[in-house]
Symmetry: C2
Subunit: 659 residues, 2 copies
């Protein structure tokens, strides 16, 4: 039975939860398919996550491989294919603890960077799992800065082979997933040398383990990099190469090739090497970041209407903690952000699809914009969502800290997204470099992509809002965000030029502006997120109250941003102190409004209890009962600890006296 | 040998590291004693933490008990006593993974809340470990709000016993450390009933496990609450009581007593029940929060001069990442905060010692101030340090995410400090309540404690700074902090009164102001921290350059706060936009100055490699070598995973073809 404190929250929804779910899914038919996939996966005991919080790193790895292998069978049984409508829901249904994700990156890089011949050779093998692939780019001493990679690939014209080598300990490949114990093959990134001349970093397909007995190939040293904050299920690995030879045909050669005589031929931009990373960054946002935040919101908000603490009114029952303004102020902005980023993800997918179509026509013009946007939003969304999940965890007090709440594992996993596939500060700076360039171009009257034409709109002005209700107008707040983004970009561009004109060298000047450049890139991404949310709401027809509640969330997302970053809006007086009071009032008023629909808004994310795997977040709200039942299953309660006989008993008995 | 990139950082220190260490310790003699304790503990293999990152929850618990028991022997051998000068360094030397910490809280609560007779009976037993104690306050359904506890203690006049009972599942004691598997006794907090009348929450000593065989006592159900984000070594427990009887003498009765006829007699304030929690909160700051932040800074800063990434200047070697402004801006403010909080800890210890002397004279007047300050600073310092450790972790990129860096365990442990011993938001609100009261009192011309007399100094005014150097004057920035603290407190007090005068009920009005009340409490604590840092520096005589570098850190701590919370300073124009530019310039300038001494400043914290237990943070900077060596010791590399035979081999071989 559902806890009455949770049930009552569902009776007063201002909109149809089912219709909102369908809209988020992109239509009721998608919802139906998604639910069918979730049901098929979660009813299968092989995919159970029941004991996940009690497992060791070895146990989780084994379970992840078991699930990945079983998934192949399941897909055949169910008739699901990689191109079918079900495919994209599988990962969500599994909730992540599954092996061979890097196998997919391995395949994608061959598909994007490989010649037709290479695709024809390797993709069928990988598809049928006759080989298991990984993607070996990062090294012990080098991450995001690809040009610094130290692994070498020297072309030996006599044997028509590349000799791959790890010259120093810091050149060891380190971190690649699926590589520590599973992979038979990997794409290795290495510095290409032909006749002693360097040609930069290139990708090579290499076998690392025997297909017969899985032993390491000659010259290959590999293993697992050990325990991490999460991803215990993933065998992140190391790889050391001692002059390992691969045939000339194994360099991925869609865009550049080494001919038998050692001639290096390039066709297309070398920047295309970065394209797989661009697509990976966008998929990180959708798969690894937004869904965990939605789960964290679901858990924390459901728990916050079950948990009662202190009295709000004297003489009454203790209050639900979600009735406290401070708890609303913790959780509801995170809920609004989850919606905002769901919509920004749609925006990025469109941008990417458009760009990919151009690239296939060998038009590489969109690459800088794609790179800048995928970088900036990867950084902004991962950072925002990581903080948001942490806020949800802390907002659940002590019980949030128990692994059984599900929140610690969501947090420790999402945290990694700030680091992998490009460290966020470096990514923000790449976005900033693009923005500064566009700002200079637009100032000089040149053409820039439509997404940044707003940079031309430099005008001083003041925010025209006269009362707190004006701040519920998307025009008012969108313009405020636009104003601060332009101001931060233009003022940093000016500082940069001033420094250079005063004789500071260009690279030093850049370094002295980086703190402000990061601020500028964040402001740009924040502005686009707010504008995109407002446009999404505007396009939405009024149905079953959905537009109304989405408008509230959009307002909350926007005003929370102004309230929390008040300095950048107040700085030049665009928003005055009196206006900031209006923002604060409208912001706090919205909390009380959205609070009424908080539970329906997380219900609409439509996670099953098995997906959440949380003692605090289940649909029925039986929080305390479930915590007690789950705790009893812990290995710490399975037997009397040897510590008693070994240590406690002698301590207590050595001096035991009658009490 | 020391990595030359790290060695070179030590050659240019602007001050004597050894003298700074001695000053931080409170004199060279303390440093000597501390090092002797650290050496004695860390050279003893029983206390080794070498395999900690590879251990399961069960293994860590067993190790923690082993260490706690061995510690008793060690103390006797070394001649260390609880009152000796060595004692306070033991916990730091052990680096935390040790059992029986709640045993100490058990003893402290008896010493503070027990009668002389109770102290005479229980303290010797506990001191000799003839019993092992715990402290059972928190329940499944209740944390910080003590009055809501549901466990009952009904006085049975016929048998002169209290009957302790768990009436509902949410009344189960949940979280107490040392209780899940170790404790024989515990102090239980329960609602006292005499003749059907409730007298509020009181503490009772209760035996929960047999002293003969450690089996649970009749009516007692207890166990471990299962896996958590950290604290795997601690057996946080649950406890369910079914009408368990304890003798009348077991109610701790220094300040209130139940006489044989059921008469309830109170002597002294009931608020004294909160005093043990006050002392615990202050000790949390020193032991659980500041030291982990110092360690995180040490690890991240040493790593940041070893790690090289990208080129700062074209054609040169890749740059140390600490040479990037963005990396400095991440780490150096955290370093400054570690110093700031070391000094605020001294401030709080003095406040507490003074207060305790008064209480022993049965003067309870200082309790509200003590409670407000310990609450606010516990909340502020735990929150700040938790964010700071997370920043250090993320600043180390992927390697920070490896458990072998030491950073994840520092983070997951310090995070708990935001929750335990009082949830931070509730604590801030208690501080705010005190501040509002004092503000009203001072406005009415009444006397308030010296620590808050500044609230009388409400004056509009503007910041007098004329150029960026003015912002390096402690008077200028301390006054800016004071101004914003007073403004936030007074404006929230005004909002509260306006709401009440407009007819909103008092408790609703309070709730509608809580977001701003929390801001006000934070601003107060931030102001006191800055002022205390500035005063500490002022009192410091110039010696060996220490005052100079401390002044830089104080400036950085203060300006970082203004830069990051610009909104509250800009809001009423106290600081203008042009002045904020000066703040930003001075702030960024300071980063480059302090960067030169960054390594000596963390060296001065004087942590041994064994204390840090970090592959990234060792004194010699051999980062990559150590990561590789430690990874190979991981259980994931000890044997071939059964996953190969069970899943991978069938997958690969089912369809094996010749390549």
């Amino acid at each position: 039975s559902v806890n009455p404190d949770l049930a009552s929250e569902r009776q007063t929804a201002s909109f149809s939860v089912e219709k909102l779910t369908a809209w988020l899914d992109g239509g009721a038919e998608h919802t139906r398919i998604r639910r069918a996939v979730v049901e098929a996966i979660q009813s299968d005991p092989v995919f159970s996550r029941e004991n996940q919080y009690f497992q060791s790193q070895n146990e989780r790895y084994e379970a992840a491989v078991r699930k990945a292998v079983h998934l192949q069978k399941k897909m055949r049984e169910m008739g699901w294919t990689e191109n079918g409508p079900e495919f994209k829901y599988i990962y969500r249904a599994l909730s992540g603890d599954v092996a061979f994700l890097l196998h997919r990156v391995f395949m994608r890089s061959i598909l994007v960077l490989g010649s037709d011949k290479q695709i024809a050779k390797w993709i069928p093998l990988a598809t049928k799992y006759q080989i298991i692939g990984s993607y070996a780019q990062t090294e012990l001493g080098h991450g995001t800065y690809l040009q610094g990679l130290e692994t070498t690939a020297v072309f030996d014209i006599t044997t028509q082979e590349f000799i791959l080598n790890t010259p120093t300990i810091s050149a060891m490949k380190w971190w690649p997933g699926d590589m520590g114990r599973s992979a038979t093959h990997t794409v290795v990134f290495a510095q290409l040398f032909i006749h002693g001349k360097s040609y930069g970093v290139h990708p090579f397909i290499m076998q690392i383990r025997s297909l017969q007995d899985h032993s390491l190939c000659p010259g290959v040293t590999a293993g697992d990099i050990g325990p991490k904050m999460n991803f215990e299920h993933a065998d992140n690995g190391y790889l050391m190469l001692q002059k390992v030879r691969v045939p000339r045909e194994n360099m991925l050669s869609k865009f550049c090739e080494v001919q038998p005589d050692g001639t290096y031929v390039r066709s297309g931009s070398q920047k295309i090497n970065y394209f797989p990373m661009t697509t990976v960054r966008v998929s990180v946002i959708s798969d690894e970041v937004i869904i965990p935040l939605m789960k964290a919101c679901t858990i924390a908000i459901r728990y916050s209407v079950v948990r009662r603490q202190s009295k709000l009114k004297p003489g009454e029952q203790e209050a639900k903690i979600l009735d406290y303004q401070t708890q609303q102020e913790k959780l509801l902005p995170q809920l609004a952000a989850a919606y905002a980023f769901h919509f920004i993800n749609n925006y990025l997918q469109e941008l990417l699809d458009r760009g990919y179509r151009e690239i296939q026509r060998r038009n590489f013009d969109t690459l800088p914009e794609l790179h800048a946007f995928s970088s900036g939003f990867k950084a902004m969304v991962t950072q925002y969502c990581t903080s948001a999940v942490e806020i949800c965890l802390r907002a659940c007090g002590g019980h949030g800290y128990s692994l059984l709440s599900g929140l610690p594992s969501l947090y420790t996993k999402i945290l990694a997204s700030c680091i992998y596939e490009g460290e966020n500060t470096i990514l923000f700076l790449q976005t900033a470099r693009f923005l500064i360039k566009c700002f200079m171009a637009v100032s000089a009257g040149h053409h820039v992509p439509p997404s940044v034409t707003y940079l031309a709109a430099v005008k001083p002005g003041k925010c025209p809002a006269k009362n707190k209700l004006d701040f519920l107008s998307p025009d008012i707040y969108t313009e405020a965000y636009q104003h601060t983004a332009v101001r931060l970009i233009s003022s940093t561009a000016a500082k940069l030029q001033d420094l250079i004109q005063s004789g500071v060298k260009k690279h030093d000047a850049w370094n002295q502006c980086t703190v402000q450049l990061v601020q500028a890139a964040k402001a740009h991404c924040h502005y686009i997120s707010v504008e995109n949310f407002a446009e999404t709401v505007e396009k939405l027809e009024t149905k079953a109250g959905i537009q109304k509640i989405m408008k509230h969330l959009c307002d909350l997302f926007a005003l929370h941003g102004i309230f929390s970053n008040a300095g950048v809006f107040l700085y030049d007086g665009y928003i005055s102190g009196a206006q900031m009071d209006m923002v604060t009032e409208s912001y706090l008023d919205l909390l009380a409004v959205i609070r009424k629909d908080a539970v329906p808004l997380v219900d609409a994310f439509d996670f099953t209890d098995k997906s959440l795997n949380s003692a605090l977040g289940s649909y029925d709200g039986q929080v305390y009962q479930r915590l007690y039942e789950w705790a009893q299953k812990s290995p710490t309660n399975k037997q009397i600890s040897p510590a008693y006989e070994k240590y406690l008993k002698p301590l207590l008995h050595n001096t035991l006296s009658k009490l």
